[in-house]
């Protein structure tokens, strides 16, 4: 259990750094992104193009493919939901 939480913490940290850097969010530091903050729309303000970039980031960095974008809506809700998806699916294709 402790190991799982430690691993999730690392995934969340990596995700925040990736999103701030690779989506080139001006004035947003990785540590300012909340674990449960809504990423799209009124939350962090990401849009559909960012969703495609996150799909690419997951593929590049974690070897995970998201082929069904309906599934993506739930996964991309927050840093926590993406981190849980990565943790649950690492080592296997979604």
């Amino acid at each position: 259990m402790e190991n799982k939480e430690l691993e999730l913490q690392k995934i969340r940290k990596d995700l925040k750094e990736m999103i701030a850097r690779d989506l080139a969010l001006e004035d947003v530091k990785p540590e300012e992104i909340g674990d449960d903050e809504i990423l799209f729309g009124e939350g962090l303000g990401l849009d559909s193009l960012d969703a495609v970039e996150i799909v690419v980031l997951l593929q590049r960095n974690f070897g995970l493919e998201i082929k069904n974008m309906d599934q993506g809506k739930e996964i991309f809700y927050s840093i926590n939901t993406i981190a849980n998806f990565i943790y649950d699916n690492k080592g296997k294709k979604s």
């Binding site: 690779d22 969010l25 004035d27 193009l49 970039e53 690419v56 593929q59």
Partner: protein, 357 residues
């Protein structure tokens, strides 16, 4: 055709005020950039630092854009603002963007993405930034400009070709005003090619009046002119003629010959045949760095000299051919300037600028 506004971003910063201060303060040693895949090797480069841009409002709108597009938008926005034309947003404005290499850095990033991750995991944003007209499109969309938009790509004389086309569009009435710009970006690939094919300036000093052997320091940046037919209070000068195939007015007297020599050709002796021992000669590549579009930055300097009626000393004065160099900065009476560029075939581009009367 008149230059009504100027916007510039280059290694020393952004804006016509920074250009003027740089011309007054003279040569500055370039930064040393790491050479990838070597053990601690560096090369001198005049690079643009976008992090140093103070007004971040435009950059916030451009978070997906690459550096080439960001530099273009910043310079174009400054050119509009510099013109001081109050209702400029309501005018029909065209955009012609000149470049030698376009989005080559982004294109290589995209290709690297395919090689590293496969074609299914390449960034779509990187691809969209790599297409030919991306930078001009960013200028159009972020500044809400709705006239015709074109990118001119040519190794040499691309900006001069853009000026010729701008003149045609203005004469045809296709636009009220034209944003004519030039942009190029430094990247590792260009740095490598320059090192392999040309001679790097070991001390960081481009020597524009040596001609052979030449030495270069890569540069990058963007320059935009707002062009129009009607004179305004803050206009810079008139562009009397532009030629990209020699000088049809070669006997015409001018006050200053401004040459684009910058070490981007291994032998630049062809400039000598265009110079006169009785006419002041100058060059400003050591301020901006070596670029195929360097002529655009020189033209901005010429426009500033005509507007301010000020001589700006050439920043590096090595003079083995005993030319009459512009060696002192100060007030002057300048009626006309001829800007001269040469390509590797010895062909010349010539732009005549004159003071507004």
């Amino acid at each position: 055709m008149k230059i009504l506004g100027t916007g510039i971003i280059f290694t020393r910063g952004q804006g016509i005020g920074v250009l003027e201060n740089s011309l007054r303060s003279g040569w500055v040693k370039p930064a040393e950039m790491d050479v990838p895949r070597t053990e601690g090797n560096t090369r001198p480069v005049y690079q643009v630092d976008l992090d140093a841009v103070q007004d971040r409002s435009l950059l916030k709108k451009l978070r997906r854009a690459d550096k080439l597009s960001k530099m273009s938008v910043l310079a174009a926005a400054d050119a509009l603002a510099d013109s001081g034309i109050a209702d400029i947003a309501r005018k029909k404005i065209g955009i012609i963007l000149a470049t030698a290499f376009g989005a080559q850095v982004t294109t290589f990033d995209f290709l690297d993405g395919i090689l590293d991750y496969g074609d299914a995991a390449v960034s779509p944003t990187t691809f969209s930034n790599s297409v030919h007209n991306a930078a001009a499109s960013y200028v159009s969309s972020s500044l809400n400009i709705r006239g015709p938009t074109l990118t001119v790509t040519q190794f040499r004389f691309s900006f001069q070709s853009a000026l010729q086309l701008a003149q045609t569009w203005l004469e045809q009435g296709r636009c009220d005003y034209l944003l004519a710009g030039a942009v190029d970006q430094y990247g590792d690939v260009l740095g490598y090619i320059a090192e392999q094919k040309l001679t790097a300036a070991q001390d960081g000093r481009i020597k524009p009046f040596v001609f052979n052997p030449t030495c270069q320091v890569p540069g990058e940046g963007a320059l935009f002119f707002l062009l129009g037919n009607d004179r305004t209070d803050s206009a810079y000068c008139s562009i009397d003629s532009v030629s990209t195939s020699g000088d049809p007015d070669c006997g015409k007297p001018v006050d200053i010959n401004l040459i684009d020599a910058d070490g981007m050709l291994p032998d630049e002796s062809a400039y000598l045949s265009a110079l006169s021992p009785d006419t002041l000669t100058t060059a400003y590549a050591p301020i901006f760095g070596s670029m195929m579009i360097g002529g655009a930055f020189n033209l901005a300097t010429a426009a500033l000299m005509l507007k301010q009626q000020t001589h700006y000393a050439a920043p590096v004065l090595d003079n083995p051919h005993a030319l009459l160099l512009l060696s002192e900065t100060g007030p002057a009476h300048i009626g006309s300037i001829r800007s001269i560029g040469c390509n590797c075939f010895g062909e010349k581009s010539v732009v005549y600028l004159s003071k507004l009367t």
